[in-house]
Symmetry: C2
Subunit: 160 residues, 2 copies
Amino acid sequence: MAEVRWLTTDEQRSWRAFIRGASKLFDQLESELRTAYGLSRDDYEVLVALSEGPPEGIRMSVLAENALMSRSRLTYTVDRMERDRLLERVACPEDGRGLRAALTRKGQKLLEAAAVTHVEGVRRWLVDVLSERELKTVGTAFARVLEQVPAARAPADLLG
Amino acid sequence: MAEVRWLTTDEQRSWRAFIRGASKLFDQLESELRTAYGLSRDDYEVLVALSEGPPEGIRMSVLAENALMSRSRLTYTVDRMERDRLLERVACPEDGRGLRAALTRKGQKLLEAAAVTHVEGVRRWLVDVLSERELKTVGTAFARVLEQVPAARAPADLLG
DNA sequence: GCACTTTCGTTCAGGTTTGAACTACTGACA
DNA sequence: TGTCAGTAGTTCAAACCTGAACGAAAGTGC
């Protein structure tokens, strides 16, 4: 058992500022999307992923991966969105087990509107608040974090 | 209605990297705390806040503010933690409506153990992955974000 | 002292999320 | 061709969260 390497005062300060700022930013952006369009962050991520995929839709499992959601959570999210006619599930010709979620016209339209709100929020609360250099640094830093953090969160991964 | 100011390609890239990296980081850290100690991030935040407050405890409303939680969510969180004997609610002499949550010995011990796990995670997945300069920038950037985002998320705030 | 408004924390109803089972299908191997 | 492990997506029960409504106490103005 190695000695614990605590955070220095500066590291601690930075970490705390980050976790609080980021949490609040996420809450704010989600709150804006929800009150304006009734969309959760998950819903929005799904719409974005679909709009960037091919028109025939995206496999559920791929969608779950893209949006960093568990499969069951995605099932329920897609249920709700299908009920609201924002997307539809279509069978997958090449795999009888599979389904694709595909954007409807309504979903497309809603995303176009919501994206405006969302971009304004991202600008107002983040992009315009940071200098160009800061934003760039944040981007490259978290791209590296994303690479480092283990891809799967299977229980076995946590025991190493 | 003003023209939409979309994000530039670079801004978009930075924003995406950030949201994905940060989300994954949070998920990873929470997952580590949960499998090792059965603590959610909320639980952990409450323990930290209490350990930093006076020994007689902290008012529920202050705790909710510190941990960025709704009051009802805090009520349920504290219920669970009290059931597990990590803290206890004590009446508040100076305000008959109020309660303080105060750490028990067991809560104190658990936090001491969990903090080790948590710090290791923060180091491994963030602090050691970033340069000193990057971490500093992230800290100052999000401190500014925290300042800018409106404090309350009362419905009225969202209509302006 | 008495009405009024505000604040504190909880409770309620209903929606959401979780992780483990489950069904249906696929692909590999004999 | 038949078995069998593995995968896709769903479902289930239980835990969790949300926001509005609530009871109790505090503060305010008269």
